[in-house]
């Protein structure tokens, strides 16, 4: 009922087109993002220029890449191994996309020490998409089955999708918005990929 009240207020305030989602979050049945409104954004706050945000996103993706790589090594089962190897490759492609985006935005190729020269590595060293620590995620993953690990990966990707969508709204300037629009599109694709894998598993 809260959403109907909210819709009424907005309509009354002159909003052109307002819809209330029936059943709320319980009806959603999709993957949901967790965390407080600003969660994860702290990583982006020192980065104001689009190139810097691209670099930071690159670092987060790099963290995810390492996470999936470690999982691929840790897991014995052959099929699961393959899943994480492909995810790792997918994250590598993400990094390439971000690399190109940097080039497009700044008009020049990234410096050879990319991303180290852009910002201190310690600041973002052990993080990955979703703002989770790689070491923590790996510790959690030990002894978990593939379905549970896929679930963690999905929640990480959902959180980064959520983060990129919000950042896209928060930043000023067309080019910065474009960075995050492209990123959220990429994350959406990852999410679809992971979800279909998850559904395939018994």
């Amino acid at each position: 009922m809260r959403s109907r009240a909210a819709a009424s207020i907005l309509t009354g305030a002159g909003f052109k087109e307002v819809h209330s989602m029936q059943g709320g979050i319980r009806a959603w049945e999709g993957f949901v993002a967790e965390g407080i409104p600003g969660a994860g954004m702290a990583y982006f706050s020192p980065a104001t220029r689009p190139e810097e945000m691209t670099t930071l996103a690159w670092l987060l993706e790099d963290g995810s890449c390492k996470f999936y790589e470690s999982l691929a090594k840790m897991i014995e089962e052959q099929e699961a191994k393959g899943v994480f190897q492909s995810l790792k490759k997918s994250e590598e492609n993400h990094k390439i996309v971000l690399w190109k985006m940097y080039e497009e935005l700044s008009g020049k190729p990234p410096p050879s020490e990319f991303p180290d020269t852009m910002m201190s590595r310690e600041a973002a060293g052990d993080v990955m998409e979703g703002g989770m620590l790689i070491s923590e995620a790996l510790k959690w993953s030990k002894g978990k089955n593939l379905k549970e690990i896929l679930e963690l990966s999905i929640s990480l990707e959902t959180n980064s999708y959520d983060l990129y969508l919000k950042m896209g709204r928060k930043v000023e300037g067309r080019s910065s918005k474009q960075v995050f629009e492209k990123l959220s599109e990429e994350e959406k694709r990852h999410l679809e990929q992971l979800t279909s894998l998850f559904l395939k598993k018994p």
Partner: protein
């Protein structure tokens, strides 16, 4: 807000309709607002949703673009 506001007709979208819309549209082209309380938001929300608890909406209208389609839940 007047009590009469509750009786105004409101467009209702199913979760499925919402999902289709969010899938097709550019995130820059709509407002997606979670009107529940912060603790509920923290436990889980639709990806990209902005948190504006229902009681705060009248004072926070400026945070939303009134020209864009707005989905609340």
């Amino acid at each position: 807000m007047s009590i009469l506001d509750y009786f105004k007709p409101v467009s209702i979208w199913s979760a499925e309709k919402t999902r289709q819309f969010l899938k097709q549209e550019n995130p820059d082209e709509y407002n997606l607002v979670d009107v529940r309380q912060p603790d509920e938001y923290e436990q889980g929300h639709l990806p990209g949703a902005q948190l504006i608890p229902v009681g705060e909406i009248p004072n926070r209208l400026a945070e939303l673009d009134s020209n864009k389609p707005t989905i609340v839940y």
